[in-house]
Symmetry: C2
Subunit: 357 residues, 2 copies
Amino acid sequence: MSWEDKVRKVEPYVAGEQPKDRDVIKLNTNECPYPPAPGVIRAAEALKEHYGNLRLYPDMDATKLVNALADYYKVDPYQIFVGVGSDDVIAMCFMTFFQSGKKILFPDITYSFYDVWAELYGIPYEQPALKEDFSIDVRDYLPERTGGDLGGIIFPNPNAPTGVEMPIDQVERIIEANPDCVVIVDEAYVDFGGTSALPLLEKYDNLLVVQTFSKSRAMAGQRVGFAIGNKKIIDYLKDVKFSFNSYTMNLPAIELGTEAVTDAAYFHEITGKIIKTRECFKQDLRDLGFTFPDSKTNFVFAKPPKMSAKDLFMALRERKIFVRYFNKPRINEYLRITIGTDEQMAKVVAAMKEILG
Amino acid sequence: MSWEDKVRKVEPYVAGEQPKDRDVIKLNTNECPYPPAPGVIRAAEALKEHYGNLRLYPDMDATKLVNALADYYKVDPYQIFVGVGSDDVIAMCFMTFFQSGKKILFPDITYSFYDVWAELYGIPYEQPALKEDFSIDVRDYLPERTGGDLGGIIFPNPNAPTGVEMPIDQVERIIEANPDCVVIVDEAYVDFGGTSALPLLEKYDNLLVVQTFSKSRAMAGQRVGFAIGNKKIIDYLKDVKFSFNSYTMNLPAIELGTEAVTDAAYFHEITGKIIKTRECFKQDLRDLGFTFPDSKTNFVFAKPPKMSAKDLFMALRERKIFVRYFNKPRINEYLRITIGTDEQMAKVVAAMKEILG
């Protein structure tokens, strides 16, 4: 037997392309077109004052960042868990909550990291199909249909890559109907007009809400994500995290991350601008003959007229416009287009007009 | 059944205390007493120029940092894996290489995170006892005694918290005798006078060497660790890492980390100073009647005369000198004392003289 026979062999998640060429219109990974809050640049400038502290381990509880989040979301600090992006947070959640050996559920069309995590940990899973309109059929997550006793449930709300939001009363039905497993609502895109499940924490202790700084807080490069839940669920998550890596949040992530969350005015300004741009872009898409489910996110998932999604993807790419194409059943006729600035979207629309003739 | 019955319940690793009071002599977590390389402060200052890029995902391959490490260690970039401190790297290694269901081996007295990871992942393990002089008995890791077909082997060299180095020919015997499993040599402390196993990579493809920026590179606050191995072993590790979190290294970690590794002169200056201080401190300890195994690290693991280690630990703490005490069998009569500056060690020695009378 060779050492290779003993290795865990997995098919890793494939993230959206990150072109080295900065001269492209990059609308393929749902980043924010605006810079982080101005406080972040001041924190970056002030980082040199912390230079001497870089030799020391960072605050393993990331207290400053956690307190800022607690203030913003009006919860107690012990209700918050922070990680290296929401991917780190969710990876820890799978390890903590989805390990009973019972099957977990998530939609067939959703964030494509969920099945990668399930495979990594050997967690059995089922993926109920979205309805034809790309909405989640809430009944697929209720005991009447599942038989109950699930290993866990996770879904993004709004969903990705569709952009479709599940009404909050349906989210609540799922949480309420499954008190015997943890339900994770992945709210990566909630800040672009969606309704958060956070108020439901008062009623349900099996709910965990996950959010990220990578989209609405324009901090993908800093890697900060977080979960909010009741104390008990957060404590379980912390125990696993502290059995994995005591110090995940480095000093710059704590310092710059804190500034990214305290400036509510800036946050509302940029998310408001993105929503406005999105609504204009939707109209442009309609005028061009695209069809798409309504989006409550910073992207639109749209099916082009006249030509295949793949061909349009390639044609846009030739014009240095990067969008996301998924070569997967049911969604391979759609493109996921991140909302950039008004100027960027005007260029996209102009390019589409040209390509589609 | 409640959701809590489905949770992974673990006993997390307990890191050394991080006092909020900065007015202490902090010799309890093996941090470097000197600041990072001067290039790091320049990189921190230059971070504001990257402010606009923080909205974008960082380079998921951390190419700049990886290339700097490859240059420094004279290996190919594809031989390098980087993570959020060496804890993150080793956590990934356990998940990748130690999952065959066969037992892994590490010493009974060693880095106390190893058994936490093994418990987290449900990996069977055995911990051969160190000899009375705290050296590893190489025969405990050879097929004559183990029966062969192990799930894996990991040990720090030099070992922690003892500081004892295993001669490199014995390290080689272990690697050579176990071609059917991965052998991880955790070289967190190798830069303080130890001999690295890196040259053995030319002969053995089952070897993985792990190092960290937290000690000799004075960057604990930045969270950077790395592994070096042959391409095949690194590729397996990357597959698991990219199934866990695509973007672990944030922009500041890449920028500041690169500067921490390129300045060889500064690196040799500070590690040389620490070695010199350590040798003086050893003589002071001998004069005071301490006994200790010889250390090749940035700490000394010493047994006090006249009083118990715990009492001395408490007495030093009252004087705002923090060292590390492990309340564990076989080592509860020792203190692990990090090597600080000459001035700090003089204060420690003076305090000890006073306490021991």
